[in-house]
């Protein structure tokens, strides 16, 4: 790091990258006071802030102490904050913030930028790939249904459920971005934050507290950069081997139905890795559709003999996955136990606090209480792992109300964003302490800083069962690429999507296109959706089964390739799904091209994401690319290829070390629509 003093300011650089540019007239820092209002309705937040004051920190003094640079800012003649900048042992630039004015609870820091710079990340972002030109409120929440105020779905969701959302809503925000200048910047805070990339000369990072520190590092390549990032946030473990043996079928309805459906799929040639039965603990009907009985134990009525069948299935090479979330349904055994033990978040006066999840009410397990945390880990160990589950969806994590009281005494406004990470940690430790990390898969939609080291894989959340850019199939690609750059290299989605409301119904074409896409991600898993009867399912007809069978043959054919990607991700943080610029950093198009990605170094995947399309236009960076279906070789640029159902646009790099394997994808598929 280097600090250059100017007439009225300074320039702070790190590895040649200008990080802060400060002058009296254009200060890099503003502090202030605000009074926020958080209005939550079923995980959707209406958040407003009354900014009482926003003070430019124009005046500063610099002091060099040992290897540290101390910059003390002041306003109205009084010291307000001290920046302690240092290089960490790993060579990163860390600027710690020490507030001198506890009444100031708003922080805006400007990171120097150039007009042409592009930025990515901020957790898992669904609408935008390059985030420049927009601001991103960072607050874990429901991602919204529709996520675009111009769509009928969003409007209906807003009117009926206050649930439409907008481009920035996400289950997994993170105050970290990656720049096309090959640096990352991370703000260490769990408070509400907003990263604003709308300005030419700076990115403005806002937080509703004084953050602990800013962490920045720069590398010569994006590969080194993602490795560096994982050094900060942690690495996902390798995928259990069995996950690559086929699709995980989302099934509901009981033991018999599950086995029947698995058998039907297998008979049709589908490679099945297992069944994921989210209703293993029973169901509850609401107007939204079937909801699960949130009292995390095997439901003998709906799943008779599952305690023995689960082991029989395992012997046949079929895994059984379940479901859990961090809430317990009022008046059910787990709730009653937690309530008695004082393990639930309360109102400020200590009285009972339940959260509305849509026609039913739940207690929030207080993970800030170490005993409650251990107790819930115990529930997972006993009711899920010991029972024999091979994995589960660890759902939710975004609903911590800001007005509840937690045992660690911290404001729930500050804990809210941290909750997904606590929830991931709870799952991870339960599995690790059971010695099952290499064998059990759990997946989450919620996330925040630090989730990388705990959560085995993200799934893209609750997409609509449609083609919508903002909330349908295409949005998953942005989600995978953005979260991948943050160290979440194993990403997948519900094949076919989930949200089936306001007249939406999943059709066959969407299911098939989504399955094709999923075959080129690290995990294939289907979902029936919240209203299964309205949706086309994997077994709705023979054509769908035949198509799925082909896609699972491709997926299992790629097992060695994907296994290597999972290992690489676990070791180096290199995501399985990568933006094109990861390996083509000198290609300007690679920073902007949408709805295509590299699956590993050597596959380029451009899913068909438009209804009715039988061709797709896509961009190939300069290299020799072989179209896996026609065998035709392309050398780069914009091309349009035929893409009938069953032949998603996929190319392999001719010079790949895996060319022998990759050249046989079409053969493995063995499919004609």
């Amino acid at each position: 790091m280097k600090l250059e003093k100017l007439e009225t300011g300074f320039v702070l650089t790190h590895k040649g990258q200008v990080i802060l540019r400060h002058s009296f007239d254009n200060p890099c820092l503003f502090l202030g006071a605000g009074s926020a209002n958080f209005d939550m309705y079923r995980g959707n937040f209406d958040i407003t802030d009354y900014v009482i004051e926003r003070l430019p920190m124009r005046n500063f003094a610099v002091q060099e102490v040992d290897d540290k640079i101390l910059i003390t800012f002041s306003a109205e003649g009084q010291e307000t904050i001290v920046f302690t900048a240092e290089e960490t042992a790993e060579g990163r630039l860390k600027i710690a913030f020490t507030s001198k004015k506890p009444e100031l609870n708003r922080f805006w820091l400007r990171i120097a930028a150039t007009a042409t710079e592009k930025v990515y990340g901020c957790g898992e972002q669904l609408t935008y790939f390059n985030l420049r030109g927009h601001n991103f409120p960072l607050w874990t929440s429901e991602p919204g249904v529709g996520r675009n105020k111009n769509t009928y779905i969003t409007w209906q969701a807003d009117v009926k459920d206050r649930a439409g959302g907008d481009y920035y809503n996400t289950n997994y925000p993170q105050p970290t971005y990656v720049s096309s200048d090959k640096y990352f910047a991370h703000l260490q805070t769990t408070a509400y934050a907003d990263f604003d990339f709308r300005h030419d000369d700076f990115h403005e990072l806002q937080a509703w507290e004084i953050p602990e520190y800013l962490l920045v590092d720069k590398e010569d390549s994006f590969a080194d950069l993602v490795k560096n990032i994982c050094g900060v946030f942690g690495n996902q473990p390798e995928l259990p081997d069995w996950v690559l043996d086929g699709v995980i079928l989302g099934i509901q309805g009981g033991t018999d139905i599950t086995i029947e459906k698995i058998n039907r799929a297998k008979e049709a040639g589908v490679k099945v890795a297992g069944a994921w039965c989210q209703d293993w603990q029973g169901i509850k009907m609401t107007s939204f559709g079937k909801r699960l009985q949130w009292d995390w134990q095997w439901n003998k009525e709906l799943y008779p003999d599952l305690d023995t069948k689960i082991h029989e299935l395992k012997k046949e090479g079929l895994r059984f996955l379940g479901y859990i979330n961090p809430y317990v349904l009022e008046d059910f055994p787990l709730y009653n136990e937690a309530q008695e033990k004082g393990f639930l978040a309360t109102k400020e006066d200590g009285s009972k606090y339940v959260v509305d999840f849509g026609e039913f009410y739940c207690g929030v397990v207080d993970f800030t209480n170490p005993e409650a945390f251990e107790w819930y880990k115990g529930v997972i160990k006993k009711n899920m792992i010991e029972f024999g589950l091979d994995g589960w969806m660890a759902d939710f994590g975004e609903y911590l109300p800001t007005d509840c009281y937690l045992s660690n005494g911290k404001s729930a406004e500050i804990e809210h964003n941290n909750w997904p990470t606590r929830w991931a940690q709870c799952n991870h430790e339960a599995i690790e302490e059971a010695g099952k990390t290499a064998d059990i898969l759990f997946f989450m939609r919620a996330g925040y800083t630090g989730i990388q080291g705990y959560c085995h894989t993200l799934w893209g959340g609750d997409q609509c069962v449609n083609w919508n850019i903002d909330d349908g199939m295409p949005s998953v690609i942005n989600a995978a690429l953005s979260s991948g750059l943050m160290g979440n290299g194993i990403h997948h989605s519900d094949i076919g999507g989930y949200t089936t409301l306001h007249g939406m119904k999943r059709d066959r074409e969407l299911f098939m296109r989504w399955a094709e896409f999923a075959a080129f991600t690290p995990i294939m898993r289907s979902h029936e959706g919240n209203r299964p009867a309205d949706n086309h399912q994997f077994d709705s007809d023979d054509e769908t089964l035949a198509h799925l069978a082909a896609m699972t043959r491709v997926f299992t054919h790629l097992k060695p390739y994907i296994k290597a990607l999972s290992k690489e991700n676990a070791e180096t943080g290199m995501p399985a799904q990568r933006p094109l610029f990861m390996h083509f950093e000198d290609d300007a198009e690679a920073y902007e091209v949408l709805y295509e990605y590299l699956f590993g170094r050597d596959l380029l995947v451009a899913p068909v994401y438009e209804q009715g399309a039988t061709t797709r236009k896509l961009y190939l960076p300069a290299d020799e690319w072989v179209h896996v279906w026609s065998g035709e070789t392309y050398t780069g640029g914009w091309v349009e290829v035929n893409a009938p159902i069953g032949q998603p646009p996929v190319f392999y790099r001719k010079n790949s070390a895996d060319a022998a394997l990759l050249s046989k994808i079409a053969e493995a598929a063995d499919y004609k629509a």
Copy 2:
């Protein structure tokens, strides 16, 4: 005025009312800098502000000079602004602002408030009556179609035309409010402003420049207060006598059709004051519907012989009204003349600037150029007054783009809000200089500070042809009451509403209910709407004509009463339509009750505003009220009365000096549904 010094602050009172309460910890003033973006699409604005800094003005010094109190605020040890407080000759409190820091272009002043205080006004507000609990951006614009994001109409208008609007959008904003504490406060500025009434302890008045001054006064009664307000902003002239002789029928289509329609109405017993033909200068078809040919002169093709017929009609007691707005259609004679003379607003480089009004483009007459102003006045005098028009709709005024260049060198951002007043002044002076103020009626929807002294009457703008609270018939009542408190005591609306889009069609019931309401306002005028064929019209069937005839009989029966109201308004600023608290200031309900009003001192009107309703619940303040249809006497409180079509809930005060007249309303109506 009185300034009391406190340990770290002061309290400034005027006539016993605390106006400013300042302390080091809770300053009454914030100054700052912002960078705004105005995005206009056909009169709808998307406005954002990046607040760079917002500085509390904690430190101050007081100096008393003669009868003035000078308060000098400072920040960072430098003087920022001087408040010069004085009592004007009329006894008002005036605080002039002298900026010492030209770089500060944002101003937030906190006026002391109490939690129970209510506020009204801010120009013409359509959605809310009591404005407390909301903030009101003050920027003249299209008011929006639907004005409620939860409605289908608004959503469609947003998606298709960016035109849905919200609760605060209005053609006529004004940075002035009236408090239930019987004071008014006015900020003298034409910049974008926002009055925020969401706080318990203060109202925060924001402006995007340093305003000239704050003006405040308090009175013992609301009657005195509105008189005081008109002393500041001006008084509307008295209504021409002929306006009270019947309905002004909105007709289009040419001379013959106009005369035919008048005759049909008269034969059905309708009292007709005149015809308002907005297409007198010809029409132009667009996808929105028929649009007018904006080249302000008689169109001989569409209105043959109008030059003689207009005088024949006048002899028969029938007036003829037209239409004009402050824009001239590209490539038509007036545009060409103005363009040649340099009378149009330009781009910054002096080149041609036309505004998109929806499939046609117009020049903006530059009213800041005195020659252009005189020229346009001349157009009105020659083409309209000399031609014989008895009045017109002086439409628009809200579309001044913020990026055009004006001859006075002022920023169009600052001139934008002032434009409606300049436009009103142009019309007023043309009429006055022709000596026709007592005989010609012009009406506007746009407004801003000062319009009161120029514009003869507001009309409520372009309501939807429906019952919607936010943008249908009921919204007109809030519009009349709020603008009435600002000195616009003569208000009316399009009978039946105007906006006919997105599947809306006006039905008979709505037309009839609107006509009933209009009979108890100072002007009855109908409108065919923008898609006349989709709407029920006054002559669509005999029942409608019979009902309208009855309502015009009521209206003309009330002529002496309404004439007195018009005179009272012209002399004292007492509005014709009044909130109940105007005469019942000790009745708490009178400050909150919605969709009813006093029409003068002695009529209480509660229009039926719900589709299908045949009764209405309404509130009567304590007095003796006689229901005009049944003759039954009520003494106050909430009551429900029968209200079939033709019998809108109207009561007269038994002790009224006009009881003889008012008791004969039913008799005058002589109507059975």
